[in-house]
Symmetry: C2
Subunit: 435 residues, 2 copies
Amino acid sequence: MTARDQREFFTVKTVSEALTGFRPERRTPVESVGLDDALGRVPAEPVSAPHALPGFARATVDGFAVRAADTYGASEGLPSYLDLAGEARMGRPPETEVRQGTAVAIATGAPLPPGADAVLKIEHTQAATPELLEVLRPVTPGEGMVRADEDAAPGDELVRPGRPLRAQDLGMLAAAGIVELAVHARPRVSIVSTGDELVSAAAPETLPVGQVRDSSAPALAALVREAGGEPSFAGIVPDNREALSEKLREALQGSKPTTLKGSDPLSRGDLDPSSAGCDVLVVSAGSSVGSRDETAAAIASLGEPGIWCHGLAFRPGKPTILADCGGVPVIGLPGNPRSALVVFRLIGMPIVRLVGGCTEPPPEPSVRARLARDLPSAAGRLDVVQVRLDGDEAEPLFGSSSLLSILTAADGYVVVPEAATGLAAGSDVEVMLYR
Amino acid sequence: MTARDQREFFTVKTVSEALTGFRPERRTPVESVGLDDALGRVPAEPVSAPHALPGFARATVDGFAVRAADTYGASEGLPSYLDLAGEARMGRPPETEVRQGTAVAIATGAPLPPGADAVLKIEHTQAATPELLEVLRPVTPGEGMVRADEDAAPGDELVRPGRPLRAQDLGMLAAAGIVELAVHARPRVSIVSTGDELVSAAAPETLPVGQVRDSSAPALAALVREAGGEPSFAGIVPDNREALSEKLREALQGSKPTTLKGSDPLSRGDLDPSSAGCDVLVVSAGSSVGSRDETAAAIASLGEPGIWCHGLAFRPGKPTILADCGGVPVIGLPGNPRSALVVFRLIGMPIVRLVGGCTEPPPEPSVRARLARDLPSAAGRLDVVQVRLDGDEAEPLFGSSSLLSILTAADGYVVVPEAATGLAAGSDVEVMLYR
């Protein structure tokens, strides 16, 4: 079959349609992790405070625990005087009480003695005698301290499900004595590369003309990790529908199925979605039209409901396939490495996050810049244009979508939305920055 | 000793002075990692292309390899005709040549046959007979293809030292057959917590009044990981100079030194910086003035050149210590958990990155917003104010710096720079977003 015999039939969707319409229901199971391993993990359920935090009223300044009423009217010109009645010790239950007319020395963080309702800063006092404190300014009740439940009342939500845990969330959990919590397992993302021209990145140094190393798989694996997933390589298969179908079924099932000689590897029905070998299947397709058709046919053979879209109104990334094969989302990427990475960043990473239970993705860095040149674009199609930043100017990087160097030279990218018919030089644009 | 006996003597610096002036020379050693583990790692040296990439001229469209000159003048009304001379196969050296007046069928990604200098898109052709191709549009040399060295010429820099590796960088390295490279080891960051009131987050459920769990250490460990470091907990020590000195020396030396009974744990000189047990030492100090003084004295005892600054013109975070103890940067953090995290994010993370060889930190997410309320600030002092975002409005969150809930409720923070004396409600501010 030559290229000219091939014709594609696309069920084309816009990127917005794909992002809102293709929402797999699959979620990874719940597992328990310790705080040490919890950064960025996605809580599977809300976690509430088991008791009040900090748990007792504490001083927030160094000074003296007092009854605020005892300080009213005090000034440098007309100080009040309080009897010194000991010291509140750090880390221990208070041993003394603050009675009317007395003060107890206290350091930041120590528990407030009974009877006290404020802490006077040391700077606003003077020692009159070793037993007598001169008060130079008044305090109001609650000043210089936090209440026993000021950080959290019992039952307050400490972390919410769906949002990846940040450093401060781990601090709050630790403060509450919660050192293990239920999170979604990392989505297992299986990556299959196809293409008669592909060899492994680790192949011997000199390649015959025509062969290229698989650059997409390692880069896609990195994006999977950024999205909180656990990538695995299923390997490279040639552009052959039967070989590809078998490889995809293997990846979905988690192990090579034992097939009797002569059985049809395209037959459906023997796939058990609940014990699937991966949570998301990514096919880095061959680059030619023929190879893409084989990929579509192989994906269609994997299970119901099957292909959701074949083609995105997207440059670079038109030949993208989204499918649901027996409950596992399958993403067929364009063959050009740059297109594959751009599509996976825009479409694939949100799917990996969602399957991993993440409903509030972390914010991505971006910066406003002035476009250095006109960007033409067709209406109804979303364009992702790589740019290099030079001060506050964004210089578009043009070239074949087979070139990875355009991505490595880029600091970020500009999205020309579907409604726009291009952007004029000098436009104020938002550049999404690579981390 | 009561709190009122304590007075602090600060060598106060501004945050800008700290960021530009405290630049440790220490760098972690170089190690080799495979591509699978290289995401976010910091290359220790430049990596160049060992040969041209893609290595051979390739078609970037499906169509026909031709001599461009043979198509000049062709149009739908007046087509040119070329003899079909076979097919360029994907992944194999070309078997046919393109001679004058001939065309060779070719798929995207296949190697260009000798003699061809362009690829005609299939859409711009028609089959006249099985052996004859009708050309409906002309092509120019170089069209529909990439050159053998268009992605990289031999010797081109593929990744540069000091910038953490991104997904596309891994793709480029894979394309070049580089599956292992030299990166800086992750900085080992030892975290020591001090405070008579502190117990481990994992302590039994009910604590006596006065005790609190160590929330800073797990949160700081998470920030260390975000900065590319490898955290380790050295443990909790009471507010006691001798105990603290010994713990800090242990952390610096990597193992508990065998000291003869009666030896002075504050003695200097037996520390070997080249075999230090950590690359950065973080002390999460006790919260009271007395405890902070003990911390400063213990840090000062660790080695030359010693304390660089004691105090930052920074809210919250004034009682910060920066020191260089025998070649290991030491960061003494404020005792309040919120202050500790804010200071470590602003001052500590850049130090961890630098020690790990990272000279081009990844961009941080931020967003422009309208300030919902006035933010007072003293000139000469940098203020970090936590904010919650409500649409495009930034609502400042006020409260004691001992409260972690202000950090967990925040979406990000606003920096009121040293030169400003506050920001008025309605100001356009940049909110640095938590990920």
